[in-house]
């Protein structure tokens, strides 16, 4: 495998775009990333575009707003890991030497009104099992039982991430919240409350990925150390459906642990060498078990570390420095791109008031229906 770099990165503001199509703001992210990489559109040899709800050929429609050069465009739907999956494919193609320059794009305009869900079987839909906060609540209850984590701990995650979001000009929510506001917000699915759950948003993230020869500005290029995607291992517990765990044959390493192990092996770095992480906070408790499953501490230790401030911007391991999904909002097919973008910004030292000092290695983790789990490790 050859070295591959992010030479250009861009996101739109995470927001509701009432008057712009996904293809419009998606193409704007592409043009920004191209300018960031100091390359011309004619240099891009392939496009991998992640989205969930945008329909057939959505990447083609976005690229039609940029230019028609005959290059392959591959549309990638992989639920909340769509952008990370597109990123992985672009990375692998450049690392394998197939292309010198590839574009990874993630974009989403979330459907307004009822979302037709195809990730659940009909009987599950009839019984109301397609409520994601509900499914996370099932995991949360077990996590609390196993580790002693409390609702207050989960509130602290929301408070931390919303505080970080204040410092992120692209975040949808830039207003801080306090513990009482979180604990008093309405119950969605016990024990999860509104402010434990990420809001939705629209937006796009784009990355120019290239080999060393095509890097124009070496001081800003960020090396991709690994990009890994996994799906369920037998017996994994990731409700609903038949993914509620096996009594007889529970998994010994779940899909998140597997993706992390493979990403560390491929990158040649371990969790101890990583300076900042972007993890999957669709609901606040998810951030805690994600930190544990990615190997940054043992099971049950994350709540204590959180209380001690370890995951704050000034802590030992700053987590979700851009405010996470809880502040950015969750544009499904673009969300994982938002995480990777924040890592690139941090490693370039361009994060301004939320900069992690001397950030050199970063990790992003997303997961989604399927289930799937994607881990990306970047090194400056």
């Amino acid at each position: 495998m050859r070295e591959a770099f992010i030479s250009g990165a861009a996101v739109t503001r995470w927001d509701y775009y009432e008057n712009a199509s996904c293809h419009q703001f998606g193409s704007q992210a592409v043009l920004q990333a191209l300018r960031d990489a100091e390359l011309r559109w004619q240099d891009v040899q392939a496009v991998f575009c992640g989205s969930v709800y945008q329909g057939t050929g959505s990447g083609h429609q976005a690229i039609r707003e940029v230019g028609l050069t005959g290059i392959p465009i591959v549309n990638v739907e992989n639920a909340c890991s769509s952008a990370a999956s597109a990123f992985m494919l672009a990375y692998q193609m450049v690392a394998a030497g197939v292309y010198d320059v590839a574009l990874a794009l993630g974009m989403e305009k979330m459907p307004r009104g009822p979302i037709p869900s195809t990730a659940f079987r009909d009987w599950e839909l009839s019984l109301g099992f397609n409520l994601q906060p509900g499914n996370y609540a099932l995991l949360t209850r077990k996590y609390m039982e196993k580790t002693g984590a409390t609702e207050r701990d989960f509130a602290l995650v929301s408070v931390k991430n919303r505080a970080n979001g204040v410092l992120n000009p692209n975040a949808r929510f830039r207003k801080p919240v306090n513990v009482e506001e979180v604990m008093n917000s309405r119950i969605i699915a016990e024990p999860l409350r509104l402010l434990h759950c990420c809001p939705l948003a629209d937006g796009a993230a784009a990355f120019i990925i290239c080999n060393r020869e095509k890097v124009k500005n070496a001081s800003r290029a960020v090396r991709i150390a690994s990009a890994v995607l996994t799906s369920a291992c037998y017996g994994d517990e990731y409700p609903p459906g038949d993914l509620i765990g096996s009594v007889r044959f529970p998994s010994t390493e779940n899909l998140v642990q597997l993706s992390a192990r493979k990403a560390y092996e491929a990158a040649g770095v371990g969790p101890g060498e990583i300076d900042t992480i972007q993890v999957y906070d669709t609901v606040s408790p998810g951030e805690l078990w994600d930190i544990e499953e990615l190997g940054f501490c043992r099971e049950g230790e994350a709540p204590g570390l959180l209380r001690d401030g370890a995951f704050n911007l000034s802590g030992k391991l700053p987590v979700n420095t851009d405010g996470g999904l809880l502040s950015r909002g969750h544009p499904l097919g673009a969300s994982a791109g938002g995480q990777i973008f924040e890592l690139a910004v941090q490693l370039r030292g361009e994060a301004g008031p939320r900069q992690v000092p001397n950030a050199r290695v970063g990790l992003a983790h997303s997961m989604g229906a399927g289930p799937n789990s994607a881990v990306t490790i970047l090194v400056k």
């Binding site: 109301g128 609540a137 099932l138 699915a189 016990e190 459906g241 038949d242 509620i244 044959f249």
Partner: protein
Amino acid sequence: MSTTQKTAKPFAHGLLDMGGPGAEPRLLGNRCRGCGEVFFPRKTGGVCTHCQSEILEDIELSGHGTISTFTIVYQPPAGGFYKGAVPYAYGTVDLPEGVRVLTQFAEPFDRLALGGMAEMVIEKLSVDSEGNDLLTYRFRPAEEREGAR
């Protein structure tokens, strides 16, 4: 003159046998003769997804088990697929056959506890477009919590 007789029927096919006079309603599962794994709902592809053996036998499952997790939902999911009451409770119950079942829970919700026992009941979920009652299996939490012995 044609009047439509309103009836009560299961909300979905293949999940449960409604029983009848003298016969208890039962959840329908299958068991792999290769590795012993048990499935609910039944695997219909003919393959055990644990060991890929192709010998699956149909079995009926016990109507009682242990609550392994639960939630009580106050905001129904988007999409309009769910037409039952709100709030509703759901989660998982581990049955003696060694299978975990995803289920709604019957009232009273304040008895729900991890490790608590629960018993299967048949209750009305909703009404279809022709006015027929749609019935579902649910598990009703028992008064005594097993883990509290």
